[in-house]
Amino acid sequence: MSACLNSVYIAAAKFCRQRVFMVCGAVFAMSGAALPPAPALAKTLIYCAEASPGGFDPGLYTDGATYAASSQTVYSRLVEFAHGSSAIVPALAESWDISPDGKIYIFHLRRGVKFHRTPYFKPQRDFNADDVVFSFDRQVNKANPWHNYLEGQSYQYYESMDMPNIIKSVEKLDDYTVRFELNQAEAPFLADMAMDFASIVSKEYADRLAAAGKMREFNSKPVGTGPFILVAYQKDAVVRFRANPEFWRSRQALDKLIFAITTDNAVRAQKMRAGECQLMAYPAPTDIPMLEADKNITLMRGVDMNVSYLAYNTQLPPFDKVEVRRALNMAVNKKALVDIVFGGFGTVAVNPMPPSLWGYNKAIAPDIYDPAKARQMLAQAGVKNLRLQLWALPVSRPYLPNGRRAAELIQSDWKAVGVETDIVTMEWGEYLKSATDKSRNSVVMMGWIGDNGDPDNFLATLNSCAAIGTANYAMWCNKAYDALIDQAKRITDQHERARLYEQAQVIFKEQAPWLTLAYGTALMPVAKRVKNFHVDIHAIRFDDVDID
């Protein structure tokens, strides 16, 4: 019966192409159930991405959707994170030496690495030290024409990781050796080199585009050394890649990789169930039970690399008193909050960094939920009839999918200890702007997703004195804490660093500048026929993935 329908369909399709195709199309469309399936795909993986990439030059962007389509597919870095962990493994650099003072890094580059051969670029030479020097120089050197090749561009990630102050110079020693000199010892430096902004671009390609007056194409027609080559990009619709036959590690098992851009998470879940994609980004907690129940889908869990929290403004009363902050922390039933807001896919946060990171202090106990004691502590601190503003996170994030719901639960808990809470929501841009205002007399809900698997990326980025005005929303400055994290940054012995970070977490917990809320679990619905996929900590990656 089905074969008969198919032959009728094919004959009709031929007729349509020759004749009245518009009318036939509508008739065909209405008989969707009788249509044959699309042609079989040989080793093609379709990934339902949450957004379009901003562009394909990873230096210019800071969002995961762009990295998934550029740095993680098209490009490689000197070093990279091992699948599923933050361990650093060799990539374009086969090995490296670090000077005893931690200021000099010498990278020995891999030989025979080819840049992508595409219809728009045929490389004449292999990857070498010139590409490494160029990749970093363009991000910091204002005299480099590639520093400002697009209107209104900036190398924001490079800057926000403080690279212009960390790296003193990048120098080519020979074709396959590069020397990085730092201004001072910086323990997380190797991890920084595995980050997306450190992707290595082709100097030869850049020179050719500059000579042809087509510099703009550097962001739309990328050339890298990564596992996949860009074939086509249709904005807001689809990104197509093919396997790089000359990939320096080995040719990928997949022939084609397709990103189906699907912004709505409920629609992504439906596409997953319908088999229209085999991997999807960021499922909504409400769709998890449906996806879990599907026999063709596996719900893979990754390592938590995030934290959500409430930041008090520790410089203004009443939050300048540690007793008040601790009392408010004690009044919130975090377990109930995490169960409700994360639907079981989150854990109560204890420290300002997740337990998956080395240096996490396991000895620190979670905040006790004790409303009676909290009420008593507030009274002892002289706080009566407290009425405060709580800002509810206006966007959904892996570290907190529903800020409004979380705020309502906190409001109810605080009310039980006599604290009245006004929940404030505002537009995300305004939220970000106002949250850094030092005169802000309110509690801000915020969160963070780790960049490089180094504790410094949480403890210093979010709580150092220097971060006030940027990511230190609690405006908290503690000299003893700062000294510990600064010292930890200057030494390379990981055990010693871990010990210092553990001490810093003790101070943090005593001082309670935050109400630590939750560590969100990274979830990835994956079709069962997909093999070797890992829920990576720092990015969505497709290298080494296979499909039946």
Partner: protein, 334 residues
């Protein structure tokens, strides 16, 4: 000729007004592109100021507006802050998708709405009339997002009859020629590509057509009822004409004048509806593009996008006015 020149001259203040409104609207939204790009990471005030200056956003608003207008006069709609691509080229890439969907939706709305409205008027008070008008009221009042998701869950998720989203099955790949997938799929010569495109159009077209269909059906019914009560209809019946001739020729032709006006007005409703429909069905059109640009404070894209749409709408209106003038010279002399 004088009529046409006059019409074109009227467009100038309208266009200036639109640029002003679009400019004021996007700048009135709190936050700025630099802050949004920085996200949770935050940005120091000094660096923020530097990047704002790089984007030309440090100048007083009136200066920014004037330089924007100057740019427009030189045919430059600006560069997107996010993609760093020219706004006009992004628009040209995405507009065919919206146009294709809107055309399918309006065809669906007219081909179902007009006959349904006529039949409801002819069978006034019947079960068909009451059901049709009840359904049109439901269609008009239904939240589009909810309706779209409902259809996706039923027809794509549960029954598996239609694809969930997108414009074509991704196993097909061909270079776009016109940007209209129905045409490009035929030009590609790939077996099954056209039917895949058609299947992908079903649900989005139904969702987008829902409100215009309801409006057209109701308008057709009331226009028909008005015509059916006219003296010349009684005369037609007295002359012994067949029912078909009375309704199809005498009644329908006269009732169509307000209906055509209504159909024209639904074009703007389609653009508004496209924003939601494109989001539900991951349809790569200008509605979704503009919404995302607003979220990211991509000022140039929002301003440029609105202005290009306005120019297109005004061009169509001008064309219609000119045609009216040709058809009925009394209009051009008025």
């Amino acid at each position: 000729m004088r009529f046409i020149v006059q019409k074109i001259l009227y467009l100038v203040p309208t266009l200036i007004g639109i640029t002003l409104v679009a400019f004021a609207f996007i700048h009135a939204i709190p936050g700025d592109p630099v802050l949004i790009m920085a996200g949770e990471r935050g940005i120091s005030p000094a660096r923020h100021a530097e990047l704002m200056a790089q984007l030309g956003l440090d100048k007083p608003l009136w200066q920014q507006y004037i330089s924007y207008i100057w740019q427009i006069l030189h045919g430059d709609f600006g560069i997107s802050y996010v993609s760093k691509e020219p706004v006009l080229s992004e628009f040209m890439q995405l507009f065919p998708a919206t146009l294709e969907l809107a055309c399918c939706a309006i065809v669906l709305a007219v081909f179902i709405g007009v006959p349904a409205g006529m039949l409801a008027a002819v069978k006034r008070g019947s079960i068909f009339d009451q059901s049709a008008m009840g359904l049109s009221l439901l269609g008009y009042s239904m939240p589009i997002f909810w309706w779209g998701m409902l259809l996706v869950m039923l027809f794509s998720g549960y029954l598996g009859w239609t694809p969930v989203s997108g414009r074509i099955d991704l196993s097909y790949y061909f270079e776009p020629v016109t940007g209209f997938m129905l045409i490009d799929s035929l030009l590609s010569g790939e077996e099954g590509a056209f039917s895949s495109v058609a299947r992908h159009l079903i649900l989005p077209s139904i969702v987008l057509a829902t409100i215009p269909l309801a409006v057209i059906a109701r308008q057709t019914r009331s226009a028909m009822l008005e015509v059916l009560g006219e003296d010349y209809m009684r005369t037609a019946r007295a002359k012994g004409l067949s029912s078909f001739r009375i309704y199809a020729v005498h009644a329908a032709r006269n009732a169509m004048i307000p209906v055509i006006t209504t159909i024209g007005l639904q074009v703007s409703a389609l653009i508004a509806g496209a924003i939601l429909t494109e989001t539900i069905f991951s349809w790569p059109g200008i509605g979704k593009w503009l919404v995302e640009a607003i979220f990211k404070r991509d000022y140039m894209t929002v301003q440029g996008g609105i202005l290009i749409i306005a120019i297109l709408v005004m061009a169509v209106n001008l064309l219609v006015d000119i045609l009216y003038g040709i058809i009925n010279p009394r209009i051009s002399k008025a």
